[in-house]
């Protein structure tokens, strides 16, 4: 295990010396995401295995190449899970890939995202140094919180060798309810419910139907079901429904095979987008999917006007920018941070933004 890390460190140092771009690959399940990949393949999927797991500490530390499915199966044996419900998108998805992509599933709005559960990382930076930030405890304010910025950095700051994640017990009870509702009403209702002590754990609106999931103590879920009404889905149907959203295997996403899929991240109370295309709303109103052919500038402008941002999630032109443009001062900070971790600019260059 250590041999492969030293070999990769050596390879990174050589690449830095010669200015050779490296493309970090784990399970290859999210290759469609971000800008187009470039550089020589650095396959780090062999660095796998659980380093430590203490269910009563609510912390697990695993090597980056560990398959996400393997980690989830291990947690399930102790009645625990990753509350951010990360999408796999393919069977080989790794934990490092999950953290690097920073993508979360249906539970995001109420449980938090990947960065909220990252407690520590061990990195191989662009100098080929092994660096450890954060730790294996839940409260830790020693040093800058470098481990959280690794979440969603798409491998541009370092190779994730190990990651420590906070885990939680699976909710005792769950129920899925469906209501016939317009888009505007659904957004209004989701925000009202969000302000009440209800055990909401996911929501999805499409084509006149709002589906919500409640998770928590038996009593909390059954009381909420009585209060809210709606049509209750059976366990098998609801499991398949949320899984379809998480993994984007639901019928809605099939259209994205031929047309661009946009993800708009906006304030939950933002009004309907009124953009041409088909829509799906998740995260209590805060995540809006759009399949359509509109120009990117128009979609970015609408997201920005609503106080959020848009990203070209799948398809479309991936040679251009796929994430929202950054304000000049923020862009300058990004470039300097990238240089701080990868001075030669060889780790996944251009995957996040053009030029770094």
């Amino acid at each position: 295990m250590e041999d492969s890390v030293s070999a990769w460190a050596e390879r990174i140092r050589n690449a830095a010396a010669t200015g050779t771009a490296l493309c970090i690959v784990g399970g290859g399940s999210k290759q469609f995401y971000g800008r187009v990949q470039q550089g020589e393949i650095l396959d780090v999927s062999s660095h796998r295995g659980v380093v430590s797991y203490e269910p009563t500490e609510l912390v697990v530390t695993v090597r980056g190449g560990t398959p996400l499915a393997e980690l989830e199966a291990l947690l399930a044996t102790q009645g625990q899970f990753l509350p951010f419900e990360p999408p796999h998108f393919a069977p080989g998805a790794t934990v490092a890939g999950c953290v690097a992509a920073g993508l979360a599933g249906p539970r995001r709005a109420t449980a938090g995202g990947v960065r909220d559960y990252v407690l520590g990382v061990k990195l191989l930076d662009g100098r080929g140094q092994v660096l450890t930030f954060g730790g294996q405890v839940m409260k830790n304010v020693a040093g800058y919180d470098v481990s959280r910025i690794i979440a969603g950095s798409l491998g541009t700051l370092g190779v994730i060798l190990e990651v420590s994640l906070k885990v939680l017990p699976r909710p005792v009870a769950e129920a899925t309810l469906r209501f016939a509702m317009s888009e505007a009403d659904a957004i209004e209702r989701l925000n009202q419910w969000g302000g009440q002590p209800l055990p909401l754990s996911a929501s999805a609106w499409q084509e006149g139907g709002l589906t919500i999931r409640l998770s928590g103590a038996e009593a909390a879920v059954s009381t909420a079901c009585q209060r809210l009404g709606g049509e209750r889905l059976d366990a098998a149907e609801s499991g398949a429904f949320w899984q379809g959203l998480r993994e984007q295997t639901a019928a809605y996403f099939a259209a994205a095979a031929t047309r661009p899929l946009w993800r708009l991240s906006v304030p939950s109370s933002a009004p309907p987008l009124k953009l041409a295309g088909t829509q799906l709303i998740e995260w209590g109103g805060a995540q809006r999917w759009l399949v359509g052919e509109l120009p990117g500038e128009q979609i970015q402008a609408r997201a920005s006007a609503l106080g959020g941002h848009a990203s070209l999630f799948r398809g479309g032109n991936r040679d251009g920018e796929v994430f929202a443009p950054l304000a000049p001062a923020l862009l300058a900070l990004h470039r300097r941070l990238k240089t701080a971790f990868d001075p030669a600019g060889i780790l996944n260059p251009g995957r996040l933004y053009q030029g770094f």
């Binding site: 009563t56 699976r170 002590p197």
Partner: protein
């Protein structure tokens, strides 16, 4: 070679002794309205320390801006003249993060005290950094909402300070730390650039600089506005008090609660000396014969709470609790908490001085830590009472000493340093929620390698290339780590004795 070494980040602290006060004051006076700038010694005194009064230093000048434009003007001026800037909120921090720089400007955000906008529908509040933590919850209360992180000093501490320290509290096991409850931070860099980190959506494009800013101890940018997430107020809270005849058994009970799939709203532990100290002070009715007591809080709907309390009771019985009480009403729940919240003042009553530690360890190592602390009590000839945020392994050992007795202060510091270093050795950290500041800067040398500390300096340089924001705090230079062990400090009294600390 030496020159290159000196240019690498974080080798040694910068020397600002050549700065001319008259010149700095004149430059600031030119860009600020009357009443914002103070530079007479008697006006500077009140700012000489924060909640860690053992460290004192009078700043060169104090500025109390009222607008973001003034903050920009101050930072631009200081940047041009190469003057250090230390930001300060209410000055309640316990690690000396707001300790002034003797050749620097102390930038107080006290006048940034307005709640700009509260949106009950979207459950967000836009506030200025000088707004008190509790004031946000008070403003949100009519809408059935509150701001979840509740550091013990919440009646006085400001949200800007909470951002700087990534403040925790009693309820963070279930509701998260400051970093989990922020949506957006607006700030100004040392070069005077206004930057927004995060937004009112659930994520932002690019690197998660909002997370990086949180807990950065005023080293990266000065916060001028914050958007926090508001949480629906639980309908009911109920507290279970359990007594144990053995500290380790109490620690095992905490693990058993978590293993049963329960995440309580609060889970606190006190050892026997701590219990005795507070009982005498607040008469909470704690069992005095217990070696440890646990407080376990459940919140939610009445049905949810009833279900959880029943499960907690079952686990505690199985774990060998000698006594279990469940609060019957709000008054009793407050009484259970009163003792725990009185731990710091009780320590102050027992002893002329006390020194509060803040390490976090994996909970399973609690027994080892407690035995080691017992040994250290004998070794250093000082008493230590222990209170813990048991749910997340965050320890607050309170070392009792008398600064007027020769050598006690030094012994207390050495005792504290040994606890922190043991926290690291047990797989934990030197600070769970109070921050490194100036207080724990030497222990950073034992938690991070040279390469890691150098990387921290590079991160800082990305935001503050000249190293003017809060220099000398949070991350030790190579020189400091090389010299560690030969540092001396003096003092010991705790200011703001009226603010709750737990």
């Amino acid at each position: 070679m030496m020159e290159i070494e000196a240019q690498a980040p974080g080798v040694q602290e910068r020397d600002f002794s050549a700065l001319d006060k008259a010149r700095v004051v004149e430059a600031l006076a030119r860009v600020l309205p009357v009443g914002v700038l103070m530079f007479e010694n008697e006006d500077l005194r009140p700012y000489e320390c924060d909640g860690l009064a053992a460290y004192r230093s009078v700043p060169m000048a104090v500025v109390l801006p009222t607008t973001e434009e003034q903050v920009v003007a101050v930072l631009r001026t200081c940047s041009e003249l190469g003057v250090p800037v230390v930001a300060r909120g209410a000055g309640t921090g316990l690690s000396g993060g707001a300790l002034p720089h003797p050749q620097g400007v102390l930038l107080s955000l006290a006048r940034f005290n307005r709640i700009v906008h509260l949106d009950p529908h979207a459950r967000t509040a836009v506030v200025q950094p000088g707004v008190r933590n509790l004031a946000i919850s008070e403003a949100a209360a009519p809408h059935g909402l509150y701001y979840a992180p509740d550091p013990s000093s919440q009646i006085a501490c400001t949200i800007g300070g909470n951002v700087a320290e990534n403040a925790g509290g009693v309820h963070c096991l279930k509701y998260g730390l400051t970093v989990h409850n922020l949506m957006r931070v607006r700030g100004v860099t040392i070069e005077g650039e206004v930057v927004e980190f995060g937004n009112h959506a659930l994520d932002a494009p690019g690197y998660d600089l909002l997370a990086l800013m949180t807990g950065s101890e005023g080293m990266l940018a000065v916060v001028t506005e914050v958007t926090v997430r508001l949480t629906p107020k639980p309908q009911l809270a109920q507290c279970v008090l359990a007594a144990f005849d053995d500290v380790i058994r109490a620690g095992d009970a905490v693990a058993a609660i978590i293993a049963a799939g329960i995440i309580p709203a609060g889970l606190e532990m006190m050892d026997q000396p701590a219990t005795a100290a507070v009982e005498e002070f607040v008469h909470a009715g704690y069992p005095l014969d217990a070696k440890a007591i646990l407080l376990c809080e459940s919140d939610g709907t009445p049905e949810e709470v009833a279900e959880e309390i029943a499960r907690v009771r079952e686990v505690l019985e199985r774990s060998g609790a000698t006594e279990i009480r469940v609060s019957r009403d709000e008054a009793e729940r407050m009484r259970f908490w009163a003792g725990r919240k009185a731990a710091f003042p009780a320590a102050g009553r027992m002893s002329p001085d006390y020194y509060c530690m803040d390490g976090t360890i994996p909970r399973k190592r609690l027994g080892e830590m407690l035995s080691a602390i017992q040994r250290m009590e004998t070794e250093y000839g000082l008493r230590c009472i222990n209170v813990f945020h048991a749910g997340d392994g965050n320890l607050h050992p309170l070392i009792l000493f008398d600064a007027n007795q020769a050598g006690e202060m030094e012994r207390a510091e050495a005792f504290g340093a040994e606890i922190l270093e043991l926290s690291v050795a047990l797989g934990g950290t030197i600070t769970g929620e109070h921050g490194v500041g100036i207080e724990k800067i030497n222990q950073m040398c034992s938690q991070f390698s040279v390469a890691e500390r150098t990387q921290f300096f590079r991160v800082k340089a990305a935001f503050d290339p000249a190293g003017l924001l809060n220099p000398g705090k949070a991350i030790p230079t190579l020189h400091r780590c090389a010299e560690y062990g030969r540092l001396h400090v003096s003092g010991g009294a705790v200011p703001h004795p009226d603010i709750p600390r737990f």
